[in-house]
């Protein structure tokens, strides 16, 4: 098993917390499957919009997220 670190930002910290969580995965996982697993653990995510980013780039759907990655959960932005 490898681990993926998941870090929440903005309002999602109210659901997941400020501290990154770790998920065990095989070699890699699809972005969609990762989101399903997060939803199972944090049902509050079901009401929230957010995107995933790895290495400062968005990932989605069938794109693979490798073990050892850091994944950012990015809700809609509020800068400016």
């Amino acid at each position: 098993m490898n681990t993926i670190r998941v870090c929440a930002f903005g309002p999602l910290t109210e659901i997941i917390g400020e501290v990154p969580i770790e998920l065990g995965v095989e070699l890699s996982v699809s972005a969609a499957d990762l989101q399903s697993e997060l939803l199972r653990r944090f049902p509050g995510l079901g009401e929230r919009q957010y995107r995933l980013a790895v290495d400062e780039r968005f990932v989605e759907g069938e794109e693979r997220v490798g073990g050892g990655s850091e994944v950012a959960l990015l809700p809609p932005f509020g800068g400016g």
């Binding site: 309002p11 809700p75 809609p76 932005f77 509020g78 800068g79 400016g80």
Partner: protein, 153 residues
């Protein structure tokens, strides 16, 4: 299109704490040393005392995905500047992190160009792209101790 020299400032886009209002005049003073620049358009955002469901806003607490924000601001400035032709385009963009109270400044953008349409247009384009694309979040804190999250349209 003719070649445009694009100058982007500062090295780091994110700053701890509210931005000083003197910043615009400081940047303007630097731009005035470039004899090709004829127009400078600036924008400063101020925290408003909005009435919300959670009470009256007294401050906004800003957080960011810092590395992604720094990267995306540079990319969006280059992309938006691509739409303008001017011997020189000089873009300064800065955003506050942490607590910014009502009347204080969370964002400043300054754009110098040879002529005013490019200065106005690019200043506004950078601002709109920044609000849509840069991973920053604002937690609006209210006078009743409540909060709500700022969401850009």
């Amino acid at each position: 299109m003719a070649k445009t020299e694009l100058i982007i400032e500062p090295d780091r886009f994110l700053t701890e704490g509210p931005l000083p209002g003197e910043r615009i005049s400081q940047v303007l003073s630097r731009l005035s040393a470039d004899p090709r620049i004829g127009g400078v358009s600036s924008f400063a955002g101020l925290v408003r005392a909005d009435e919300t469901d959670a009470g009256r806003v007294s401050a906004i607490e800003f957080t960011a995905h810092r590395s992604m924000a720094e990267r995306s601001i540079g990319e969006l400035i280059e992309r938006t500047a691509d739409g303008y032709e001017s011997p020189v385009l000089h873009v300064y963009a800065e955003h506050a992190l942490g607590r910014v109270s009502v009347g204080e400044i969370p964002i400043i953008i300054v754009v110098g160009a040879s002529h005013r349409p490019e200065a106005f247009g690019l200043c506004r384009d950078v601002l709109e792209a920044l609000k849509a694309e840069v991973p920053i979040w604002g937690k609006e804190l209210t006078d009743t101790g409540g909060h709500q999250w700022k969401v850009n349209n």
